[in-house]
Symmetry: C2
Subunit: 477 residues, 2 copies
C-alpha cells in the first residue's frame, strides 16, 4: 500500500489549479524546461523547485499567490535571473517567473513617466524612453537581460547613480501583489504625494520578501543632447577623489559618470575581450572613466572637459588622458569598464564584495583592504573598481594563477570576514547595490544592529506573517 | 473622601519621574508656558496637554518615550510647530518638544553630508551648509522657524523639488526613538546601502506615528555659483507647462525653480506686504517665477535665460518678462512668491488645499477646479499657486469680501469635497506636501484605497502596537 504525504497531495492539487488557470504551457515541471530558471550565473547555487510558474498578467500573479497562500506553499519571485546574491533562486519553493508580464503600458513625455510591467527587460525600457525623446538612466552590466521588476526589488544602482540616484529614486508608483494575493494599486504618476505612508518603499529593495512587484511608474529625464567621455590615468584613489570634486565644480550635474578602476581589471579586459583597444600609450596603476552629459547644447561639454582635465593635470590629479572624439570612441572607452566582470571570468575563480563606505573614506578603505587581502593569500590578484562618487567599490578578488579554483572559492568566508570587518569599522555597508539575497543573509545577521534586525522581522511579520514570500532571503530564518 | 483615578495617579508618577530626569525647567505645566506649543498658526485647532516635555538629548527622548510606553500614556512629538495639518498638536496626549535637540553634529564638505539633530531650525541648516561651501536645497515658507525633524517627518516639499526632490530624497540616514523607547541608530553617511530593508523610509513622512526622529544625515549639494531669476506673465497654465518644457530643454538641471501664480495672489502681496514692488508694467492673469542656478560659472545662465525667454515670447508662451539684474532684484521677485501665504491672511478667511495631479494635467485641473469652486460660492476669490513642475498646486480660496469669516470656514468640508473629488478623479493626491495630520485623516479614509489603508494599519500595528505615538494622526482611530 503506497502512502501519499498530505503535503505532496496538496502540492499536486495546487499545481493542478494553477495549470487550469494559466494553461499547461505556463507551468513548467520538466527539468530541461526549468533548468534556465534554476541556474545561477556564477555557479554559486543550483536551484530546486517542483515547478516554474509563468503568469501573464497581474491578475494571474494574484491568483497564483492567493492559491499558494491558501495551500501554505512558499514562492520565490524571479525576473531576468541575473541577481548576484541568489535572491532569485528557489531552494524547494515554487518559482514564480515574471517574464511574461512584459508590456509597456504607457509612456508620457510631458509627465516624463513610463508605466511598465515587472518583466520588461531593462534595455527595452531604455529604448522606449529614447523613442519618446527621454532618458531612463538606470544602467547596469546585465541590462540586456535583467528585468525592471528585479531592478526595483533589489534597488539596483549602476553607473549613473552619481547624478540620477538608485532605482528607488527612479520610481513614482508601484503595483504589488501582496502575500495573501490581494493587489495594491499604487500606480500614481505623481511627483509629490504625502497622502499617508509611502507604501511603495516597502517593496523597493526588499527582494520580493514583502510583496511581488508587478508594475511600476518610472521617472523619465530629458535625453542628453551631448556627452563628453574621457579615460584617465590617475596616481591613485586619493587623486581620483580630488578630481571628482574638481569636475563636479566644473560641470555641476553634467558630471554623470565617474568610475575608478585598478590596472588589473583594465588589463584583463584588454587581454580577453575581443575588439578592445588600449586607450593610453603607457600603463598605469589606476584609471578613471568620466563622462559629462547634458540635455542642452547651450554650452560645450567637450570644452568644459578639456579645461577641467587641463587644470587637473597641472594639479597632478591626472597623469594622462584621452577624450573621445566620436560616439564610437566613447563606446570603446565605456567597454573597458562595462566588460570588466565578464573579462574577469577568464582569470579563474573570483570572490566578490559589493561594499560602500562614506565617499571621503574610499582611499583609506582601498589601502587597508588591499593590504589585508594580499597579506592573507600571496599571489591574490585584486580587481577593485566601481562608483567612487557613490562610495561603492566592487572589491573583487581573482584567484592566484595556478591555484585550484575550488580551493580559492572555499576561502569566500575568510575574505568576507576580512573585507566586511574593515567596511563595518569604517561605518560602511556590506551590501551596497547587489542586495542581501541568500548569499549575505548570514552576514547581515553577523554585522546587523539587533534593533534594525528586529524592525526588519516586524515588517516581515506584518506583511508576510506566514513567511511564504522568498523565505530565507534578506532575513535569515 | 477624595478619590484619585488610577490614570491621574499614573500620570503624576510619570511626570515626576520625567521631571527627575530632565529637570523641572524642561517639564512645562503652566498654561502660559505651554501656550506657544499648543497654538495652531491658523487657529484651526487649540491643543490640550497635561505637560510639555522638552528633552535635550536622544537619550532623554528615549527615557521619556520608554516611561510613557510603560505607563501607557500617548505622546505627540513636535518640532517648530509650523505644520499646516495639525499633526503637531496634542489633543490630551503629552507633548514632546524636540526643540532642545538643536546641535549640528557634523558637516563634511567632501562627503557632502551634514548630521543634525531634529530640533535644528531649517534656516540654521542652510547657513551651516553655506559656511561649508555647500547647499542644502529644502526651501519652504516657514524655514525661519520650522525644524528639520518636522521637515523630515512630513516629507516636506517646497520650491526646489523640481531639481532636488522632496525631503525624503535629501536624507542618507536617521536616528529614531521607537515606540518602546529603544533607539535605532541608522545614521549612515552612505550613498548606497542595500544591506536589508531601508528602515529610514518607515520614519520619513510618517508624521511621528511610527517613531520619533531625533537626528539625521542630510545630503548636501554643490553651492550655486550663479543664478538667473525671471518673473514672467504667461497666458495661462497651459502656456506655463509649454514654457517649463522649453526652459528645461534649454538649461537642463539648471532650471531649479518654476512657480505658477494666479493674479489674485500677486496683487494681494503687492497690496499688503510692505516694500514689495510691481515687477511688470501691466497686470496679467497668470505669472511664473523661474530660476536657473548652477554650481559652475562655465556657462552664462543669464544669457541662457534671455535666449529661452526670447524664444518663448515668439512662441506666445510668455507675454512679458523681467530678468533680475542683481541679487537684490532677484530677492524682490522671490518675495512676490514667498509672501503669498502671509499676505493672504489680510484678505480674511482662507480654505486651503494642498493637492497634486500628474504634471500634464495641471491646466485641466485648474480649469475644472476654478469653475467648480466659483460656481459654489459667488464672490469667492481663488488664489491658486504652486510648483507646477511637480504637479503640486496650493489651491487656496480667499473668502468673498464682506462675508463673515466663520461662515466661510464652515464651508471647509464643502470645498474639500469639490476639490478633492476632482483631484481623485484625475488620479491625483489630496495631500501633496503638507501631509495628512489631523486635518485630512478623515479625508484619507474617505478617498483611500482599502488595501492601502490596511497596509498602513499593519505598519502602525507592527511598530507602535499600543498606539501611543501621535494617535489619530495620519491613520484615524
Amino acid at each position: 500500500m503506497s502512502v501519499t504525504s498530505p503535503v505532496r497531495a496538496d502540492l499536486s492539487l495546487l499545481l493542478a489549479a494553477i495549470t487550469q488557470r494559466l494553461g499547461a504551457a505556463h507551468v513548467l515541471t520538466d527539468p530541461a524546461d526549468m533548468a534556465p530558471y534554476l541556474r545561477e550565473e556564477r555557479g554559486l547555487y543550483q536551484g530546486r523547485t517542483a515547478a516554474v510558474i509563468r503568469p501573464g498578467t497581474t491578475e494571474e500573479v494574484a491568483f497564483v499567490v492567493a492559491a499558494c497562500a491558501e495551500a501554505g506553499v512558499p514562492i520565490v519571485p524571479q525576473g531576468g535571473n541575473t541577481g548576484l546574491v541568489g535572491g532569485q533562486t528557489p531552494f524547494g519553493e515554487l518559482l514564480l517567473s515574471l517574464t511574461r508580464l512584459d508590456r509597456i503600458r504607457n509612456v508620457d513625455p510631458v509627465d516624463m513617466t513610463m508605466t511598465v510591467e515587472a518583466g520588461v527587460i531593462l534595455d527595452t525600457v531604455h529604448h522606449a524612453a529614447e523613442d519618446a525623446g527621454c532618458l531612463f538612466p538606470l544602467h547596469i552590466a546585465s541590462q540586456g537581460s535583467c528585468r525592471i521588476g528585479g531592478n526595483l526589488s533589489t534597488n539596483a544602482g549602476g553607473t549613473a547613480v552619481l547624478r540620477y540616484g538608485n532605482a528607488r529614486e527612479l520610481v513614482l508608483g508601484l503595483e504589488v501583489v501582496l502575500a495573501d494575493g490581494r493587489v495594491w494599486n499604487g500606480l500614481k504618476r505623481l511627483r509629490k504625494n504625502n497622502a499617508g505612508y509611502d507604501l511603495k518603499q516597502l517593496f523597493l529593495g526588499t527582494e520580493g520578501t514583502l510583496g511581488i512587484i508587478t508594475a511600476a511608474v518610472l521617472k523619465l529625464f530629458p535625453q542628453p543632447a551631448q556627452r563628453s567621455t574621457a579615460f584617465l590615468a590617475v596616481p591613485g584613489p586619493g587623486a581620483a577623489l580630488a578630481l571628482l570634486k574638481r569636475l563636479r565644480g566644473e560641470a555641476g550635474d553634467a558630471l554623470t559618470t565617474f568610475e575608478l578602476m585598478a590596472a588589473f581589471g583594465v588589463e584583463t579586459v584588454l587581454k580577453h575581450m575581443p575588439g578592445t583597444v588600449r586607450p593610453l600609450a603607457e600603463r598605469y596603476d589606476w584609471y578613471v572613466l568620466a563622462e559629462f552629459s547634458a540635455p542642452t547644447r547651450a554650452f560645450d561639454l567637450a570644452a568644459l572637459m578639456e579645461e577641467g582635465l587641463g587644470e587637473a593635470m597641472e594639479a597632478g590629479e591626472v597623469l594622462d588622458a584621452v577624450i573621445a572624439a566620436s560616439e564610437a570612441q566613447a563606446d570603446a572607452l565605456w567597454r573597458l569598464r562595462e566588460d570588466m566582470s565578464e573579462a574577469q571570468k577568464h582569470e579563474g575563480g573570483s570572490i566578490k564584495h559589493d561594499v560602500s563606505v562614506p565617499v571621503s573614506r574610499v582611499p583609506e578603505f582601498l589601502e587597508r583592504a588591499l593590504a589585508a587581502v594580499t597579506a592573507a593569500l600571496p599571489g591574490l590578484r585584486p580587481c577593485p573598481f566601481g562608483h567612487v562618487g557613490d562610495g561603492n567599490i566592487h572589491f573583487n578578488l581573482s584567484q592566484p594563477e595556478g591555484m585550484e579554483k575550488a580551493a580559492f572559492i572555499d576561502m569566500w568566508e575568510t575574505f568576507n570576514r576580512i573585507v566586511h570587518d574593515i567596511v563595518t569599522e569604517m561605518d560602511g555597508s556590506i551590501a551596497a547595490e547587489h542586495g542581501i539575497g541568500r548569499l549575505k543573509a548570514h552576514e547581515l545577521v553577523h554585522y546587523g544592529d539587533p534593533v534594525a534586525l528586529d524592525l526588519m522581522r516586524r515588517l516581515k511579520q506584518a506583511l508576510d506573517p506566514a513567511g511564504l514570500l522568498n523565505p530565507g532571503k534578506v532575513i535569515e530564518e
